[in-house]
């Protein structure tokens, strides 16, 4: 297959768009439906990435790829899910301020562990030794297939999120998010529903961390900055936090514009790419978040379809 049209920049840019779309979809279930303020997205992402990396590189496995990859990826995903259960147990019945503190605190703890456990993670210097679980000949072909696998995974997440929206469980999550006290008074297991949702969402974020780690092939703690959480939040809020496709559209409009259009196609001076563009990108993300919340709080796609249907039916 001729891959000449696919540049390394484009592969990385597309990977970022799809990955952030996946994170925003999972965040949609937590923040958009259940109203769990998860500001520690990067913590769960990093848990998956580092657990996978440490197991893959530091453990002498009796079998090679693809089993080595599958076992380590499963461990990374499960570890992020367990972390989600513990953090979720801590915060799920607390107010939004404590949720912010708990999730943000967890992300900071993951960063600290990634920095201090040098014998395992390589600390601030980073850790190499990761590779694709297959060999197709060229690096570009390997990366293109990895991108395709990520697209399939995120499509699976999208399918899951759409199913949750239409299921009785999804309706319970919406009820819990809208008015938890009322949902509880009607006998709905609000805490358990939130905890389960947080666990599944966190595991999904861990899996995306695994995918990113393999693409990068070198893990470093600077990947655990707040910028990734910001990207997922901006994508979700811009697209529409109440809608299934909101995170996907938001990721295309934010990451797609900056990581693909600006970085690959705009004829900007080379000196800008080192420092100016990344800084301006974060400023634009911050400004976008403010502008959307001030002028179109429901995002581009607006409110939930069922809300629109109810308004039409009841003439409100």
């Amino acid at each position: 297959m001729n891959l000449n049209w696919l540049s390394a920049f484009l592969i990385t840019g597309l990977f970022s768009v799809v990955m952030v779309a996946g994170l925003a979809l999972l965040l949609h279930l937590q923040l958009g439906l259940t109203r769990i303020a998860n500001f520690g997205v990067v913590g769960f992402f990093g848990t998956g990435m580092y657990v996978y990396g440490v197991l893959y590189v530091r453990v002498d496995w009796p079998f090679g790829d693809p089993w080595q990859f599958l076992v380590c990826a499963l461990a990374g995903t499960v570890a992020a899910g367990i972390a989600g259960t513990v953090v979720g147990w801590l915060i799920a019945d607390l107010d939004v301020d404590a949720m912010l503190l708990g999730t943000f605190g967890f992300a900071t703890m993951v960063f600290i562990l990634a920095t201090t456990q040098k014998s395992l993670t390589g600390g601030a210097l980073g850790m190499g030794g990761l590779r694709f679980p297959y060999k197709l000949g060229t690096v570009k072909a390997n990366e293109a297939l990895w991108l395709l696998i990520l697209v399939i995974i995120v499509a699976g997440i999208l399918f899951y999120v759409a199913r949750v929206h239409r299921s009785p469980y999804g309706r319970m999550l919406i009820a819990v998010g809208d008015n938890e006290a009322l949902a509880r008074s009607l006998g709905k297991p609000a805490f358990r529903a939130k905890l389960l949702q947080f666990t599944v969402g966190s595991a999904g974020m861990g899996l995306l961390g695994v995918m990113y780690g393999v693409l990068e092939r070198f893990l470093v703690n600077t990947n655990l900055g707040v910028e990734l959480t910001l990207a997922a939040v901006v994508a979700l809020v811009l697209g529409g936090s109440a809608r299934v496709w909101g995170g996907v559209i938001g990721a295309v409009l934010t990451i797609g514009v900056f990581d693909i259009v600006v970085q690959s196609y705009l004829p900007l001076p080379k000196s800008w790419y080192g420092q100016a563009i990344p800084v301006v990108k974060q400023m634009v993300y911050g400004a976008t978040l403010i502008a959307v919340l001030m002028f179109r709080p429901l995002g581009i796609l607006g409110g939930m379809r069922r809300d629109k249907l109810m308004r039409r039916v009841h003439g409100a």
Partner: protein, 290 residues
């Protein structure tokens, strides 16, 4: 005994700005009931502007505190009028306000980096003599910094607790409608609160900056502990914030002395604070059910 003395001296001299920053953060938190993530950038602005005045205009560190604090106060008021007041008037929910302040924080953080440049910067304060306090060596400069922070913290505490404006601030924080009915001008008092909070943040940032260095992440790196202190101290009074801030500084220093890496101290304290909030949250939830 030596360990306790070292912990107290190091904890208070290194982490005194935490008390000041937490007081400012608590003022806004008590009034609005929401978390202003962008408060961390008032620290960064204070540190950057103080450093700029100190290194470019040749002002001493202590004189540079004046413009640093004032500019941070104005930034705080500016963000209130530009974003937080309109958000309140539009009936924005608590979660949305937090996300809004998160976006504002990112915008200001990288905006400050864009304006003041990318390299890490330093204050020009020269070298000072070292004093021994409870057997621990502390530079004269740090002693002065601690004294300044304590004076400012006590001054702010007295202003809030004893002055007529402080009474108005507390009244507004407790019950806005009753405060209005009592003749208090909410807009003036609210503006005053945001200004004082910003000044406290800016001064804290300048102290943080002079103790180490100035970078765009200065405020953000302190935010979690400022937030933790205020949440653990609760909403009751500024006095409890001062006590919680001082205790946190001493605990961090003690853990630093006992553990092999300073980041482990932060790890232990974050974990401890999260457990405290969980236990307290449960109790509050049970009370709520009754």
């Amino acid at each position: 005994m030596e360990f306790i003395g070292e912990s107290i001296v190091i904890g208070l001299t290194q982490h005194a700005p935490l008390i000041l920053a937490a007081m400012g953060f608590a003022l806004i938190y008590r009034l609005t009931g929401t978390i202003n993530v962008a408060y961390s950038e008032t620290l960064t602005l204070g540190a950057y502007f103080g450093m700029w005045v100190n290194t470019n205009l040749g002002w001493t560190f202590y004189f540079s505190l004046i413009p640093a604090g004032l500019l941070a106060g104005l930034l705080s008021v500016g963000t209130y009028f530009a974003f937080f007041r309109p958000a309140k008037l539009r009936g924005m929910g608590a979660l949305e306000v937090i996300i809004l302040s998160f976006g504002l924080s990112i915008f200001l953080r990288y905006g400050l980096q864009f304006v003041f440049g990318y390299p890490v910067r330093f204050y020009d304060v020269g070298t000072t003599t070292t004093y021994r306090i409870l057997g621990t060596g502390v530079s004269a400069f740090r002693v002065m910094a601690l004294a300044s922070v304590l004076i400012l913290a006590v001054g702010l505490y007295l202003f809030i607790q004893k002055s007529s404006y402080g009474l108005q601030i507390r009244a507004l924080a407790s019950d806005e409608d009753l405060a209005k009915a009592s003749g208090i001008r909410p807009l003036f008092v609210t503006t005053l609160i945001w200004f004082i909070a910003g000044v406290a943040g800016g001064l804290a940032g300048a102290f943080y900056g002079v103790n180490s260095n100035v970078s765009y992440l200065l405020g953000w790196r302190q935010f979690l502990f400022i937030f933790l202190v205020v949440m653990v101290a609760g909403r009751k009074s500024i006095g409890s914030v001062i006590i919680a801030g001082a205790a946190t500084g001493i605990a961090l220093a003690a853990l630093n002395l006992r553990l092999s890496q300073s980041l482990y101290a932060q790890l232990v304290l974050i974990l401890a604070f999260m457990v405290i909030l969980k236990v307290r949250g449960r109790r509050m939830a049970e009370t709520g059910k009754v």
